[in-house]
């Protein structure tokens, strides 16, 4: 992994931190399009699975969970693709 990729990952985190207040200003607490469709059609939802994390309920929580998610997605994608690549190489040998 090159320095450029670390800078790009940091840029993603900074952009997220910058745009997050706009989310809280204009969109927080409002239905997304699918939720609105479910409401309009009197659909029901509900499950028993409780996820260990959430997207938070205020700027700092969302920032913290967002950063955890960004790093987790980066790490899992990186390691998974590396594993897929190595497995393929082993298969070729």
């Amino acid at each position: 992994m090159k320095r450029n990729h670390v800078i790009a990952l940091l840029a993603v985190i900074v952009a997220f931190a910058v745009f997050l207040p706009l989310y809280y200003l204009f969109s927080y607490g409002k239905n997304d399009a699918l939720e609105q469709t479910i409401d309009e059609g009197n659909g029901t939802t509900g499950g028993t699975y409780n996820a260990p994390l959430s997207y938070g309920g205020n700027y700092l929580e969302s920032l913290a969970f967002g950063v955890i998610g960004i790093i987790a997605v980066f790490g899992v994608t990186y390691l998974l693709l590396l594993a897929v690549r190595r497995r393929k190489r082993r298969g070729d040998e």
Binding site: H5, L9, K30, Q36, G46, S62, G69, A72, R85, K88
Partner: protein
């Protein structure tokens, strides 16, 4: 766009897994042949960026919000196979760790956002690319969102029909609402996707050049 638990008829969400999982297994197998060592960190950064963007809902109309899917962005930068893999990781992490999208609905969410959307984006982009790059990117983004929403509307309607109204949403509501809202969300997705492509081509032209050459290889 993330379908929650308890909304879909079991036959529909099981069908979602049966359709999505084999396609994604094949995707990861094929990806092993395509992904170069230099490309892997960029794919991981793009996945992280899509995760971040999907958290940032923007207002659409009538108090409703939407968010970027990122399928066109991933397909245009990485090609369809890598885009499907990247979106799979994002959607699985959102579902398992953040409760964004249900566990039972994971197959359907993968089908809509990690299979249908990137493939539609890719086909649209390839079809229009030679006429105008920017128009092709915008169209790919808009159509990928619209068709993914169309797929979700079919799933909602099928659930309603199969369960006699216990699950899903009536097609009289699901089609106009999903397609109407996502026509607007798709417009925002198109603007954002074009903006990111333009920005990256300015600050790191080697990435867009590599994406262009990679796409040529992917289709050969």
């Amino acid at each position: 766009m993330h379908i929650p638990d308890g909304l879909m008829d079991p036959a529909v969400w099981i069908a979602g897994f049966l359709l999505a999982v084999p396609i994604l297994i094949l995707t990861f197998r094929k990806l092993g042949k395509q992904a170069g060592d230099e490309q892997i960190p960029f794919m991981a950064v793009l996945a992280a960026g899509i995760f971040a963007a999907q958290m940032l809902n923007f207002p659409v109309a009538g108090g409703t919000t939407g968010h970027l899917i990122g399928a066109a962005l991933a397909a245009i930068f990485l090609g369809p196979i890598a885009a499907m893999a990247v979106l799979t990781v994002v959607i699985v992490i959102q579902s398992l760790f953040f409760g964004d999208g249900g566990i039972t609905a994971l197959g359907l969410n993968l089908l809509n956002m990690a299979v249908v959307a990137p493939l539609v984006a890719w086909v649209t982009y390839r079809g229009l690319q030679r006429r105008s790059g920017t128009t092709a990117i915008f169209a790919a983004a808009w159509i990928s969102v619209f068709i993914a929403a169309f797929a979700a509307a079919i799933e909602l309607s099928a659930s309603f029909w199969l369960s006699g109204g216990v699950y899903g949403v009536t097609p009289w509501v699901s089609f106009p609402a999903m397609l109407g809202y996502h026509a607007i969300i798709g417009f925002a997705e198109g603007v954002i996707t074009v903006g990111i492509w333009t920005f990256v081509s300015q600050v790191a032209p080697e990435i867009t050049r590599a994406a262009n050459s990679g796409r040529e290889e992917a289709t050969q």
